[in-house]
């Protein structure tokens, strides 16, 4: 393109302006200002509830209970966090939550990894059926089977125990675990396995020395997602167990009844409960989105 005519000169001058704001089609300056304003407003509206939780949790008690709220705590206090931490069952439920969640993640990871290995690396009778089962059970709303689950576990004396609920949580996160790990294992070139086999490695060595280390990042991402799911669950555990055997999420539910709600400690407790999840989530966000839509972007 030889730029000599006046038209091209004009176009050239307008070009940089257009390129600087966005990669899409032409638009006026006013529209760009409007878009940015909307963007900022959207961010503020979305974030407001999060901000309000943080704001409330650092306020002294009397400041929370007034009609005209303060948008910043007049004095920062940790009282709400202290009273949440020392509230009945909080520490007990915190320990339970950690135990149950870690147990469930570990269980699902071991069991799920083996199944994923079989699906990704072997062709066998019933393989398709297994994939179908794994995909479809992900869709079953767990509340639907809560009734028979409750009766079953009660019959086996596993209600009001950490073991019963851990088993349920393993099954809760197992389908996703199998499905994502399958993808990670498939990403490892099969030639690696075969080269090792030819060099005289046993099947177990191939698994231990090649597949397992190469799936490492996938294992981390999968277990973090499993952690989030198990940590956030409260309906099942609230139905199966009484207060001494619940997790932290269910503790938040208990807090709301008798004598009204103590908003300060509840908001502080919410922050403490959500903190591990938020941190983990921010680490693996990319994987979760791709896991759910699995390649739909390609087209």
């Amino acid at each position: 393109m030889v730029a000599t005519t006046p038209q091209t000169a004009v176009r050239k001058r307008r070009r940089p302006q257009r390129e600087s704001d966005t990669p899409t089609v032409g638009r006026s300056r006013a529209a760009t200002v409007a878009a940015n304003t909307f963007g900022v407003l959207f961010a503020i509206v979305m974030f407001f509830p999060v901000y309000w939780v943080i704001n409330t949790s650092f306020k002294p008690a009397p400041e929370i209970l007034q009609f005209e709220p303060t948008f910043f705590p007049s004095t920062f206090t940790l009282d709400n966090f202290k009273s949440a931490f020392n509230a009945p069952f909080f520490q007990q439920n915190l320990i339970n939550g950690v135990l149950i969640t870690c147990g469930a993640v570990l269980g699902a990871l071991v069991v799920g990894f083996l199944a994923a290995l079989a699906i990704a690396r072997f062709r066998f009778y019933g393989r398709k059926a297994i994939i179908l089962v794994v995909l479809s059970v992900q869709m079953v709303p767990f509340i639907a089977i809560l009734i028979p689950l409750f009766l079953m576990l009660q019959g086996a004396n596993l209600t009001n125990s950490l073991i019963g609920v851990t088993l349920v949580y393993i099954v809760l996160i197992l389908p996703y675990t199998v499905w994502t790990l399958r993808g990670f294992i498939q990403a490892i070139p099969r030639e690696l396995d075969e080269a090792a086999l030819i060099d005289g490695a046993s099947r177990f060595q191939v698994f231990w020395k090649i597949i397992l280390p190469l799936t490492g990042p996938g294992l981390v991402a999968t277990s973090v997602y499993g952690f989030i799911q198990a940590w956030n669950e409260f309906i099942i555990i609230n139905t199966l167990n009484d207060q001494a055997n619940q997790n932290l999420m269910a503790w938040l539910l208990q807090n709301q009844t008798s004598r009204g709600t103590f908003w300060g400690p509840l908001m502080a407790g919410s922050i403490l409960t959500a903190l591990p999840v938020v941190i983990f989530f921010l680490i693996v966000q990319r994987n979760i989105a791709t896991g759910l839509t699995a390649g739909a972007v390609k087209g």
Partner: protein
């Protein structure tokens, strides 16, 4: 069904497309090299767990829906009475059932449309704003997305609290409006507005961020060509951008339908575990029938109906997943 095979077909030494008749011979050859019982042993623990804690309960749920099981049977250690189709007759002749189904469907439609439309709008907006604004939007959405459902719902309960909620205060600031001590849940329409807001607010980030990722796949040249050919911005969106986004849109919409149809947490928490009739949806109705009223048979029947209603959507989702797998 053969589509299931192709995404997981071994990369090099097998031709990707396989004739259904050749499958058997090939399978035998492979299993000879890949260790006979190994896959069975490897999948066994997972299958046992799924069968025991998911398969069996599903069957038991179906059986229970034809039985009467209440406190009398539970504590008297009596076997449940078989009542045939009584539970289903009870459901289908109860006016409440139709109201609950209508409410669930209405909520699902409204909330999914709102979430998808707003999510798409936000995704498009993200392409137009300055980089700093885009980062602010993403950060805000990440926090919302990461928030556990229960925490989010408790937060909104606090925001709309009748005595000290900030929402009443802000609305009260408007001239001539008295919102002091206004209760948001006395009128079910207002209550449902709050519930829908919680669900849509929490649902936007996933959709907006996913669709925004999809928008990066829309070739710039196509849009520019459309504009050169005289298309308006609106036409370019409808005729170029949306068709390219279609597979993603279908997946996120289907997922939202499945999630929102099973609405439970938000209703359960804002109504303190005992939703009034105007707040019941299928999931909460089944749960309250079973665990609040100790009618496990009837509760199971409602759960069966719920799953059956969802089944077509789920089947559609699975077909989409397989289709995509085929493309992969």
């Amino acid at each position: 069904m053969s589509v299931v095979d192709s995404p997981s077909a071994p990369p090099a030494e097998q031709p990707p497309a396989e004739a259904p008749t050749g499958g058997r011979a090939r399978r035998q050859r492979r299993s000879a090299t890949s260790g006979g019982f190994a896959p069975l042993v490897l999948t066994l623990p997972a299958l046992l767990l799924l069968a025991g804690l998911l398969g069996y309960p599903l069957v038991r749920m179906a059986v229970l829906s034809f039985q009467s099981l209440g406190l009398r049977q539970l504590f008297g250690n009596l076997p449940p009475d078989n009542v045939g189709f009584d539970n289903y007759v009870k459901i289908f002749t109860d006016r409440t059932f139709y109201e609950v189904v209508a409410r669930t469907v209405a909520f699902t439609v409204v909330s999914v449309v709102l979430t998808v439309v707003l999510g798409l709008g936000v995704a498009l907006l993200m392409r137009r704003v300055a980089p700093s604004v885009r980062i602010a939007m993403i950060v805000a959405m990440m926090f919302v997305w990461a928030m556990p459902q229960l925490v989010a719902t408790q937060t909104f309960r606090w925001l709309v609290d009748s005595d000290f909620g900030v929402l009443n205060y802000l609305i009260d600031l408007l001239p001539g409006v008295d919102f002091a001590n206004h209760s948001w849940f006395a009128d079910p329409w207002q209550g449902w507005t709050v519930i829908t807001t919680i669900v849509v607010w929490a649902g936007i980030p996933f959709i907006a961020i996913t669709l925004n990722a999809g928008l990066t796949q829309v070739p710039k040249e196509l849009l520019e060509a459309a504009v050169v050919d005289g298309a308006s911005v609106w036409q370019a969106l409808l005729k170029v951008t949306l068709p390219i986004l279609k597979p993603l849109l279908i997946i996120v919409t289907t997922l939202s339908v499945i999630w929102n149809f099973g609405l439970f947490t938000q209703v359960w928490v804002v109504r303190n575990g005992r939703p009034e009739e105007e707040y019941q949806v299928l999931a909460t109705w089944s749960y309250s029938t079973a665990f609040n009223n100790n009618n496990y048979g009837l509760g199971s029947a409602i759960a069966v109906v719920t799953v059956l209603l969802l089944l077509s959507v789920m089947a559609f989702y699975m077909r989409q997943m397989f289709k995509i797998g085929d493309v992969d």
